[in-house]
Subunit: 332 residues, 2 copies
């Protein structure tokens, strides 16, 4: 088990573990694996011919949804209650089992759907900057509104059939809950411990160090559950940055790039009265593509049972994206 | 946010949180969601016409693999080194960065592939009991051999194209590492804390309580990352139990059921000298199918960013499996 003593370490050539301070866990990076041949499942590239308006799409303006309710003729963003919510505001309490192995708790909340745009044939990188600003403003409004009551408001977008989203209309989901879910609870603990020890928010120090080290122009961290190491966005000028990042994703394989993304802000509701200096608002992007538009990296087996494992370093991913054109392939 | 006071709680009707004591985390169970319509991605059912021997399959007896090495004419199990391993025994040490945000560590190990049977057209539930015993014996042998040096030996099987495994030949992987990965490290902490408090291994108490409560004949726990709550197997008579469980999976939608599975035993290597009374050997099965042979439950969005969420209670899953025939649909 001892290493090659006479070979100097190269992260692109030699497997190693990297610490993820936001989750207090480790990621196995085996970048040398990108050299192997691959016979994985080939998935159909995302549909390219999407009509601007589809009379059968329940997300389009003026259309009826499954529960019979109609959408207005909206011309910007549009928010409605999810017709089949995972969280409802009035579920009864399961009561407490005294056995430590069979604990349960009440789960209450609301699930909303938010359309980004009246047209089905646009995505965030293809929308005008002012239109993306409208989306961000509506996100902020929803967090403020739902956050008066609920401790956690999770905004997330699943994009593309590869990420389980079969509806091409640009939209996201907003789930507010009466509990702090596992991931933000873990992230809260990690950020709090760092702040107590170092006196500054972890993510701001991370961004500073990245800039100092010139490791990347943006801040890339090898966080959980993404094939490309996930990108965490922390910043002002957000609409422009989102458009730029998502344009680069689309340009990578010249397809409308699938991903799951979501926002992590400080907890709300009862936590609004507490000191949240340790929290820095950030987003996670989890893209499933690594080698081509059709070959998906599956998060199974070793990832589920042991540890996250990546075939690419965050620096390699950052460099790939940096070297891509700034202009979207569809508008070039 | 207060619950319906006059409605009594029904886990099949009302969302709630359940504690997973093996991971010290919570799962959102929204069983009422199974009633909603679904327009998810349709995946092709697994290939049904698999030749017993395929001259181009690198896992078949007598064939050449990508690196030019040849397989022997094996007639039982067959183990070889993975030709493109994520872990190699001699990677150099990355050295330590003093910055707490940029920690890295050496990762060393070996990755092996193990064929279960010389034929490509069988799976564990269709193999003879003695053949499954051979597989289990070989697993034990590999853990003992690799565990003399390595602290963790992860045996795992990805089955089916839906789980990223395009080769139908029955096989699993064995990755041994010089580090204890995140998941077993977490599980070790949880089992140790429980043992210290209650004086008996958590999983044995869990199995006893399940039997007392007659919640299920087998032990079903709503663990991470499965659509059906994952099944954890703890027991003697293992070959028969594995055959029975996997037959039920196959019978559920009358397809060769996809899954990821793996074993969690007490840590090995340097840990062999320590007291591991708190550990109970167990397996996890993570099946991705919920509604039909072709509709996959995607673990994205809310699951990645916030918390595991299930559309089925463990009791419902256990009941579905219990009510299925004991005989495999292909041999009926
Ligand atoms: Zn986060
Ligand atoms: Zn386990």
């Amino acid at each position: 088990m001892s290493g090659k003593q006479d070979v100097s370490f190269d992260p692109k050539e030699h497997q190693h573990l990297r610490y993820n301070p936001l989750r207090d866990s480790w990621v196995l990076v085996s970048a040398h694996r990108m050299k192997r041949p691959w016979a994985g499942q080939v998935e159909r590239p995302p549909e390219e011919h999407i009509p601007r308006y589809d009379p059968n799409n329940p997300l389009c303006p003026g259309n009826k949804r499954a529960n019979g309710k109609g959408n207005p003729d909206y011309d910007s963003t549009f928010v409605f209650e999810n017709d089949f919510p995972a969280l409802q505001p009035d579920a009864p309490d399961p009561g407490s089992d005294q056995d430590p192995l069979f604990q349960s708790k009440a789960a209450r909340g609301v699930c909303k759907v938010m359309c980004f745009h009246p047209w089905s044939d646009v995505t965030l990188p293809l929308m005008k900057k002012e239109e993306v600003v409208n989306v961000i403003d509506k996100w902020a409004e929803l967090v403020e509104e739902l956050g008066t009551i609920y401790p956690w408001v999770q905004i997330f977008e699943n994009k593309g059939a590869m990420m389980g989203c079969s509806n091409p209309h640009p939209h996201c989901q907003v789930w507010a809950s009466n509990f702090l879910p596992n991931e933000p609870a873990l992230s809260d603990r990690c950020q709090r411990a760092y702040y107590q020890k170092h006196g500054e928010p972890m993510l701001l120090q991370y961004a500073k160090r990245e800039a100092e080290k010139k490791r990347a122009k943006k801040w890339f961290s090898s966080s959980a559950s993404s094939a490309l190491p996930s990108v965490n966005v922390v910043l002002p000028g957000l609409a422009a940055i989102m458009k730029r990042l998502l344009t680069k994703y689309d340009n990578l394989f010249e397809v409308s790039f699938p991903y799951s993304m979501g926002w992590h802000g400080a907890p709300t509701g009862p936590y609004l009265k507490e000191d949240n200096s340790h929290w820095q608002l950030h987003a996670h992007y989890y893209p499933p593509l690594l080698r081509s538009a059709t070959v998906k990296k599956f998060m199974v087996g070793y990832e589920m049972l042991a540890q996250e494992q990546r075939d690419l370093t965050p620096e390699q991913a950052a460099e790939k994206l940096r070297n891509l054109p700034e202009e979207h392939y569809k508008t070039r």
